[in-house]
């Protein structure tokens, strides 16, 4: 038998030219129409240049031509995965500008709606992140559960995804009979699925090896890039507007802010960001349970809606904790029923800008994971 041939390759002497390739805009892993111009050396990413604008719908220009209540349906379409959360900072900004006090029951319903939508958003985020890593089953589990949440939101607002439910000073409608039971059932179901996914995906050895120590985002870089939401908290920064800048009635509930710990890898890697989302679902469940228990049965949800929405001259910047991070609205009023300027500070827009910084030096396949771990929605990036 002949001796096994040995291959002694000097890898450093191999020549490899750098290559520039396009990922997207039509590519399933870009989570929308995003084009990444990637420069690779072999399989190592050396540069990433995002090209945006494929979904630009001139939201801000449209706002200047519409009255204040007419803007709300367009806001749903900024981040179409978490439309309830989107509407909230806008109506809060208007309420602050006009000095409207809203009834207690409205606050409770808003909190429950926002937290339900937060769970639905994180389910999509974790599911598609698992899909990027090659895990298909959790995707089906999460989409099955998300459907039940969407049913509740549909019963409340009449629409599956784009709700147009919040009003300046109130809500479009009251809760339906049996709402509380539905919510509590959902909470039970979410917990059950999360426990399953913990074994199936999160602490799966293959998944950990794929995501730990990938796309490390240090805390100071994250703050300098103004990242927010799970992207920032994954780097270990305990920053959540529901606690740090308490709005609405969040100070009445007992919940924690999950942060990244570097449990299986380095602090601020893809696994940490994903884990923060999984933990946040549990915290949202806790908030929903407390809100259901405390919610008053009596009350008119439309009593504080003004007949005529004509804010005084002035300006306001309001932000709220969206599932993806801070969504801010800067509204300038000129005293008429149409705004002078509405600027939406899109969370995904800001979080995406950190991609060129954190994806250098990783494998090309990891780039898709890093993109998935940031959880962007292109509607919010391009507006």
């Amino acid at each position: 038998m002949s001796e096994k041939k040995r291959l002694d390759l000097e890898y450093s002497q191999l020549e490899s030219d750098r290559m520039r390739i396009n990922v997207g805009p039509q590519h399933p892993s870009t989570h929308g129409v995003l084009r990444l111009e990637v420069e690779i050396e072999g399989e190592i990413v050396t540069e990433v240049v995002p090209h945006l604008g494929y979904l630009h719908r001139s939201f801000e220009k449209h706002c200047e031509k519409m009255t204040y209540p007419q803007i709300i349906p367009y806001i749903d379409r900024i981040d179409y995965i978490a439309a309830m959360n989107n509407e909230w900072p806008y109506v809060m900004a208007m309420e602050k500008l006009m000095g409207i006090q809203i009834p207690e029951k409205v606050e409770f319903i808003r909190v429950i709606m926002a937290e339900l939508n937060r769970i639905a958003n994180h389910q999509i985020a974790v599911a598609t992140f698992g899909l990027d890593a090659g895990a298909f089953t959790p995707f089906l589990f999460f989409f099955r559960d998300r459907e039940y949440i969407i049913w509740i939101l549909e019963k409340m607002s009449g629409a599956r995804l784009l709700y147009n439910y919040f009003r300046i000073g109130g809500l479009a409608g009251d809760v339906y009979p049996g709402f509380k039971e539905d919510c509590l059932n959902i909470v039970k179901q979410v917990r059950k699925t999360n426990a399953e996914v913990m074994d199936l995906l999160i602490y799966n050895r293959i998944f950990i090896q794929r995501t730990a120590n990938v796309g490390i985002l240090p805390a100071d870089v994250a703050i300098n890039y103004a990242c927010s939401g799970p992207v920032l908290r994954g780097s270990g920064v305990k920053y959540d507007l529901r606690k740090d800048e308490t709005y609405s009635i969040y100070n009445r509930f007992d919940f924690d802010i999950p942060v990244g710990t570097g449990e299986v890898g380095t602090l601020g890697d893809c696994w940490d960001r994903n884990m923060v989302r999984v933990n946040e679902m549990e915290q949202s469940c806790r908030i929903i349970e407390q809100a259901i228990a405390q919610m008053p049965d009596e009350g008119d949800v439309q009593s504080a809606i003004p007949k005529r929405i004509k804010p005084p001259v002035g300006e306001v910047y309001m932000r709220a904790e969206n599932p993806k991070g801070d969504l801010g609205f800067y509204i300038v009023s000129n005293g008429t029923d149409k705004p002078e300027r509405v600027k939406a500070r899109g969370t995904s827009f800001v979080n995406l800008s950190v991609i060129p910084e954190i994806s250098k030096g990783y494998m090309f396949a990891d780039l898709i994971l890093i993109l998935g771990s940031i959880d962007i929605v292109l509607g919010e990036v391009d507006r």
Binding site: L52, N224, Y225, A226, V316, R319, Y330, R341, V350
Partner: protein, 158 residues
């Protein structure tokens, strides 16, 4: 620290460059500064221990008629205070110094303000359009903007 105290301290240090403090608003008060001193003021706001505005929440361009304005919303992670900073420059010469070296997040925000309003950020390393196509003409968020009829032979207005 309250916004008026920050204004007093900035006024004492930068003098002319800090123009006015407006708190006659129903909601947010703001500080107006001149474009010449903007970069130094932002640097001080980020680095001085009393301020520590390390988080640029938002940067918006504004069409103010004769002028174009830029609005900076700042937040401090440590002190949990906020500040609104405004600068206005004439439309004929819309030059504002870039702050992307102070807050890296400003890179894309400034490109957006350039794209939609036409503010020219001096010193920006890559000031190109971000939301509109790279060869788009005009700045769509200006009040006097007229939509072009055709773009590469495709009808634009509907």
């Amino acid at each position: 620290m309250l916004a008026n105290e920050i204004f007093e301290q900035l006024k004492a240090e930068f003098g002319e460059a800090v123009i006015e403090y407006n708190d006659k608003q129903p909601a947010d008060s703001y500080v107006v500064v001149s474009a010449n001193g903007l970069f130094e003021i932002c640097h001080r706001l980020r680095d001085k221990d009393d301020f520590l505005f390390d988080y640029l929440m938002s940067l918006s361009g504004m069409d103010l008629g004769e002028n174009v304005g830029v609005v900076y919303h700042l937040y401090s992670m440590k002190h949990k205070h906020k500040l609104v900073l405004k600068v206005a420059v004439p439309k004929s010469d819309p030059k504002v110094p870039t702050v992307e070296t102070i807050w890296r997040t400003a890179d894309w925000h400034e490109r957006e303000a350039f794209d939609l309003i036409g503010v020219h950020f001096e010193g920006h390393h890559n000031l190109i359009r971000i939301l509109c196509p790279y060869d788009w003409e005009g700045h769509p968020l200006c009040k006097d903007y007229e939509t072009p009829e055709f773009y590469h032979g495709m009808k634009v207005s509907y």
